[in-house]
Each structure stands twice: as structure tokens, then as C-alpha cells.
């Protein structure tokens, strides 16, 4: 039996997922170790966002298994091979450990920045309100928005909103952070401030899975890079090697569009 110390933070085994006739995930398997930063790249429609969304069960996999610290996510597979969906309470509890940041921020427009950050810790984890407020201040400091606590999200720039969204996810003290193309909706000049925060998180040892189109950033920040296409892992390994010495024609083709060398 594995102890939790040598158990991977995330384990994905033979995961399949279709939307109607469209096969999106075609037998995905990979692990993410504690403290590791995994970047997932691939053409649009390759299944990378779907894979990421499966990791906190916002998308439900059709077959295969996903484990967070050894605990099955969403479904338990019984001895006879059939599977049982976990209760909503169990799924919600597991999501507390898996923070997620979205392309479209998804901040709550009817609450100010501080309330956005404290809402879930207070209502889900029962954290004391004053303590949650203190932690929100500290997190806002960390993402460089200490002075924006009383603003409403609509008064912030895209980059600021995304940094609040990161602080909001961190307030739950997750073990893993998922980033779903978090800079794709931003004006180019605002991308940097968000990537800086992510870089800092990575350096602090947060386990992260990043779906991104920012190749240079993926190269710089990730420990491992995974190229997926048509729902399968085509190549993975050291980011510099994967990006500079692509083996498959598909990856070569894909990288050609970015026409830069990564160093």
C-alpha cells in the first residue's frame, strides 16, 4: 500500500470522455507529483481544457479513473468493474483541495473583492469571518492588489480580475491549482502581471497544472510539459526538450505557428 508521501498528487488512468459522437479524451494517463508544475499544450479542440476540467470533476469522465492524493475523484470503481458516483458532498469536499482559475475569471459580480475571496472559506470550510478577512488581505497583498479589497470586480481590469480569481482559489488552501488558459482573455499588456503571480506560486512549491498557449511561459515555469492532440498524450518530458526537439509531425506543425526557439 502506498503511503500518501510517495503517492502522486494527481493520478489519471485511462480516462475517456466523449461529447456525443465526438471523442474528446481518448485514454489519457499521467501523474502529477507533489510540488510539480505540469504544463499542457495542444491545438484548440485537442481536449486539454476538458482534461483539466475533469481534474475537479466540472467535467465528468466516461471511463477510467482519476485520483487526488490516492482518493478516487467523482466515481468509485467497484470490484466487479462497475462504478458508483460519489455523493455531492464528497465531490464538493474534494474540490476544496483542487483550486481552479478560469479563462473568464468567473468572479462574483455582486460581491466586492474581499467578499469574493472570503465567501467560500467561510461558508464551505467554516473559517471564522475575521480570520478569513485577514487571510484575504494577505492574499491580495501577495497578488499585488492590497488596495482593491473594497472594489467590485467590474471596476477592475482583466489582469486584476484574474489575480483576484487566483487569490480566491488560494484562499481555500488547495493542494493543487488548475489554470485553464488564464491569460487567453487578457489584453497582451496585462498577461505579464498574471504570469508573474503564477511564477511566484510555482516557486513556492505549489502543485500546478497549467493549460496554456503561452509557450515561453510554459517553457520557463513548468517542470514537465505535455503535448496532447485528439485526446491523447503525444509527447511529454522536459519542457526545453519537448519544445526544441519535437519528435512527432503534429507537434512540429503546432510549434511552427509560434516560430520561435525556446531558451
Amino acid at each position: 500500500m502506498n503511503t500518501s508521501a510517495d503517492m502522486p498528487m494527481i493520478r489519471v488512468r485511462e480516462v475517456y470522455k466523449s461529447f456525443g459522437d465526438l471523442k474528446v479524451l481518448d485514454g489519457m494517463s499521467f501523474d502529477v507529483s507533489r510540488g510539480e508544475v505540469l504544463a499542457i499544450i495542444g491545438p484548440s479542440g485537442s481536449g486539454k481544457s476538458t482534461m483539466l476540467r475533469c481534474l475537479n470533476f466540472l467535467e465528468e469522465h466516461d471511463a477510467g479513473e482519476i485520483f487526488i492524493e490516492g482518493e478516487p475523484l467523482g466515481y468509485r470503481v467497484l470490484d466487479d468493474g462497475s462504478r458508483v458516483r460519489e455523493s455531492e458532498a464528497v465531490i464538493a469536499r474534494m474540490r476544496c483541495d483542487v483550486g481552479m482559475v478560469f479563462q473568464s475569471f468567473n468572479l462574483f459580480p455582486h460581491r466586492n473583492v474581499r467578499q469574493n475571496i472570503t465567501m467560500a472559506p467561510v461558508s464551505v470550510k467554516g473559517v471564522d469571518k475575521a480570520e478569513a478577512n485577514d487571510r484575504a488581505e494577505a492574499l491580495l497583498e501577495k497578488v499585488g492588489l492590497a488596495e482593491k479589497a473594497d472594489e467590485y470586480p467590474s471596476r477592475l481590469s482583466g489582469g486584476q480580475q484574474q489575480r483576484v480569481a487566483i487569490a480566491r482559489a488560494l484562499a481555500m488552501e488547495p493542494k493543487v491549482m488548475l489554470f485553464d488558459e488564464v491569460t487567453s482573455a487578457l489584453d497582451p499588456e496585462l498577461v505579464g502581471e498574471v504570469l508573474t503571480v503564477m511564477q511566484q506560486l510555482a516557486e513556492e512549491g505549489m502543485t500546478m497544472v497549467i493549460v496554456t498557449h503561452e509557450m515561453q511561459f510554459a517553457h520557463d515555469v513548468s517542470d514537465r510539459l505535455m503535448f496532447i492532440d485528439r485526446g491523447k498524450v503525444l509527447e511529454e518530458g522536459n519542457p526545453a526538450e519537448v519544445l526544441n526537439m519535437p519528435k512527432s509531425a503534429r507537434l512540429k506543425d503546432f510549434l511552427h505557428r509560434f516560430s520561435a526557439s525556446f531558451s
Binding site: E88, A89, S104, L107, P109, V124
Partner: protein, 223 residues
């Protein structure tokens, strides 16, 4: 000036004011009771309506379509003349209120549902990803946003409700409209009286509209 007052039967209307006042108060009572009933009934319906369970959804949709697409007057008759046959003889007032609350509650249920559905899927996902259950997400994230969106259409619906209370005159409740008709039958002053009654309804609905606007603004300011 006197000629104008005379034209609108001012002196006559004034002499009948106590009758109109009784009718007006009854209209107020029926409107108030039906509004509360309709708002609550709509709330009670919308949860099951959106539950996704066919055993619950199908009968509720059938009920909503039935009461929305048949005349309220008929429904009032059905409650008033039908319930006694089932051994439930309720007063005209109660039957009128139930019929109005039932139909307007059905309309309100659909308004609530539209409001809830107008909140994007991303808001749900943002809340669920933070470990909230659907119930918590609904209470803390979806409903507070939906409420603001549905206040104006709810207001419209309730103004229609106020006007619809005139239909209970058909089962002998001497509310504003019927009190006017009774005065007309004794005096023949139909033009003057109906004009006065219309003005009374207008006063009621516009006052209600102003109150609602104030409520909406304070709600917006608080969020």
C-alpha cells in the same frame, strides 16, 4: 371650472365616496393577499420546476400551462362553484385570492426560472470549483444576481395582478369595480363612475410602481 366638475359628476361621486371607499379597501386586501400568495406560490413551484426530475417537472409544467392559458375568470368560477362540490365550501374572498394567486404564481414561477437561468454557467462553475454544493452556490451566488434581474418583470406581473382583482366582482365580492357597478345601477351615472374607478386603479398601480422602483434601487445600492 364648475362646468368641468359638473361634467365629471363631482358632487355625485362625492356623495358616493363611502361606498367606493369600502370597495377600494377590499380591492386593496385582495391585491395584498393575492400578491403574497402568488409570490410564495411561484417560489414553491420554481424549485421543483427546475429539479430535472420528470415525475415532478411534468405535472408542474402541465399545471403552469393550464392556468396560464385559460381565462382567470373561469378559474375563479371553478374555485367558487367547484370546491363546494368537493366538500370544500370556501368564502368568495378566499376563492378569489386562491384563483388569482394560483395563476399569477404560475407566471411568476416562469419569471423566477428565467432569472435564474439568465445567470451564466461560469458563475455556477466558479462557485462549484470553490467546493460549494449546488445548494450553497444557488443561495450565495446565483439567487442574489437573479433577484436583481427579475424585479422589473415581477413588478409588471403584480401590476397585472392588481388589475385582475376586478374579476372577483363576478363572484359577488363588492370590491372597487363591483361597488361602482352597484352605484351605476342605482343612478345610471355610468360614465362618471367608471372614470372615477379607473382613476382609483391608476392611483393604486402607480403607487405600487413607485414603491417597487424604490425597493429595486435600494436592493441595487446594497449589492
Amino acid at each position: 371650472m364648475d362646468a368641468i366638475l359638473d361634467f365629471f359628476g363631482f358632487a355625485f361621486i362625492q356623495s358616493q365616496l363611502p361606498r367606493f371607499w369600502d370597495g377600494f379597501r377590499l380591492t386593496l386586501a385582495i391585491s395584498g393577499a393575492s400578491m403574497i400568495g402568488a409570490v410564495m406560490w411561484g417560489l414553491a413551484l420554481v424549485g421543483p420546476r427546475m429539479s430535472g426530475l420528470p415525475v415532478v417537472v411534468v405535472p408542474i409544467v402541465a399545471y403552469i400551462e393550464l392556468v396560464r392559458n385559460t381565462p382567470l375568470l373561469l378559474q375563479i368560477y371553478l374555485f367558487y362553484f367547484g370546491l363546494p362540490l368537493l366538500g370544500l365550501p370556501l368564502s368568495a374572498f378566499v376563492c378569489g385570492v386562491i384563483a388569482i394567486a394560483s395563476q399569477h404564481g404560475a407566471f411568476l414561477c416562469e419569471i423566477y426560472r428565467a432569472g435564474i437561468q439568465s445567470i451564466s454557467r461560469q458563475q455556477w462553475e466558479g462557485a462549484l470549483a470553490l467546493g460549494m454544493t449546488r445548494r450553497k452556490a444557488m443561495r450565495q451566488v446565483i439567487l442574489p444576481q437573479a433577484v436583481l434581474k427579475v424585479v422589473p418583470p415581477i413588478g409588471n406581473q403584480l401590476v397585472i395582478l392588481i388589475k385582475d382583482t376586478s374579476l372577483v366582482s363576478a363572484i359577488g365580492i363588492i370590491e372597487l369595480t363591483l361597488s361602482g357597478k352597484m352605484v351605476i345601477e342605482r343612478s345610471g351615472a355610468s360614465f362618471e363612475v367608471f372614470l372615477f374607478i379607473a382613476a382609483a386603479y391608476l392611483l393604486l398601480t402607480t403607487t405600487f410602481g413607485v414603491v417597487l422602483r424604490i425597493a429595486e434601487n435600494s436592493l441595487r445600492a446594497r449589492q
